[in-house]
């Protein structure tokens, strides 16, 4: 039995929870522990109750993190935590915690994980392969997040380091937590997620959806969508606004043999491509015409080579 484990047991026998907590933290930072030590620390921390500032603590954790601010793309590399949309149509995302990060305060992590649900993520893979220590509170939070996602028809998959994964296997928690074997299995899980139901207009997920187009584009699009009051316009905007912005695009030659309404479709699609905006001066299109716009003209516009 190694010395660290003996010290930990002594602290546990003394009943000093603060000492247990400090020792566990020191051990986590010291380097790869033995499996026995890791398991003992895990079990003792349950007993310790208070786990300090970090729920998920990377090995090199030494400093408190700067205030976390959730931006619209959910990227926060300065916090070592990156959450990116995988497939917005399926409301799926991939979250990764970087081991180089110096500790995420629990409240901030709680906020981030809650925010993933609030903004509409339903299927999430949390990639923690670079995290070599996972506390009981961290596991508890993950279980809560999984429950939250599953209640909304979603899923949570976990990718863990070999060490943490083996502990969860030993404790019989792997299946309960949704631990996945490898990134291939994680990708397969996200790919198998069903298409998401369109979010309600004006809701948080809807707002998050249009902010994916870029904040300024989203603002223009929101005004256009509101002014034209046509639900079928949304997929048109979604199709166009996901393409990269390029103000240097040349106008495409109007396809030959277009009817008068066809020319209207074409003009609308071109304007959207340039401006992320529905032309004010053009008449509204009916539902079937908008469907045609999405099915026929938008793919042609997006496939057009840049100048």
């Amino acid at each position: 039995m190694d010395d660290a484990l003996l010290r930990l047991r002594a602290a546990a026998r003394g009943g000093d929870r603060g000492a247990i907590h400090r020792l566990v933290r020191q051990l986590q930072r010291a380097g790869p522990p033995s499996r026995e030590l890791e398991l003992a620390a895990y079990v003792l921390e349950v007993d310790a109750g208070s786990l300090g500032p970090a729920t998920l603590l990377p090995r090199k954790s030494t400093l408190p993190g700067a205030p976390f601010e959730l931006d619209c793309s959910l990227r926060s590399t300065r916090h070592g935590l990156e959450l990116t949309w995988r497939d917005p149509a399926r409301a799926s995302a991939w979250g990764e915690l970087d081991a180089s990060y110096a500790g995420i305060p629990r409240e901030e992590l709680e906020r981030l994980l809650s925010a993933t649900v609030q903004i509409g993520v339903r299927h999430l893979v949390l990639d923690l392969r670079h995290v070599h220590g996972l506390t009981s509170a961290g596991l508890g939070r993950i279980a809560k997040l999984k429950d939250e996602l599953e209640r909304g028809g979603g899923s949570l998959g976990l990718l863990l380091s070999e060490r943490v994964s083996s502990v969860t296997q030993m404790l019989g928690l792997a299946e309960f937590l949704g631990v996945l074997e490898d990134p291939g299995a994680a990708n397969a899980q996200l790919d198998a997620a069903p298409l998401a139901v369109a979010p309600e207009r004006g809701s948080g997920p809807w707002l998050a959806g249009i902010l994916r187009w870029g904040a300024r584009r989203a603002e223009q699009a929101a005004l256009c969508l509101a002014a034209h009051s046509e639900p079928a316009l949304y997929p048109v905007f979604d199709a166009v606004c996901q393409a990269p912005v390029d103000r240097e695009l040349e106008p495409l030659p109007t396809p030959p043999r277009l009817s008068a309404r066809g020319r209207v479709h074409w003009a609308c699609a071109e304007r959207l491509r340039y401006d992320s905006c529905w032309p004010d001066e053009l008449p509204s299109l009916e539902g079937a015409e908008l469907d045609a716009l999405v099915a026929e003209w938008i793919p042609r516009l997006l496939a057009a080579p840049p100048r």
Binding site: E69, D71, C72, R201, G202, L207, A215, A218, L223
Partner: protein, 82 residues
């Protein structure tokens, strides 16, 4: 640092990464517009118009103001708002 022009709704030119203050300002404007839509759809046109006029004032750019105007006109004319 936020660009004051961004926060007053400058015309979209390119999708460079806006600051978090800008994103917040844009998000608030979008939410205000959506709230106004909801009010109008719920028969509270006066409150919707009041809110939209505030949003309009927050824009310096004429084109963005025109877009708000289009929505204001739609509500004033009694056209259905979904």
């Amino acid at each position: 640092m936020s660009d004051p022009d961004d926060e007053t709704g400058r015309e979209f030119s390119e999708d460079d990464a806006p600051s978090s203050d800008t994103v917040r300002a844009i998000t608030q404007r979008i939410q205000s517009v959506e709230m106004a839509r909801g009010l109008a759809a719920g028969g509270k046109a006066d409150k919707a118009l009041e809110l939209l006029r505030k949003v309009r004032q927050s824009y310096d750019d004429e084109r963005m103001q025109r877009r708000v105007d289009a929505l204001i006109r739609r509500i004033e004319s009694g056209q259905p708002i979904d």
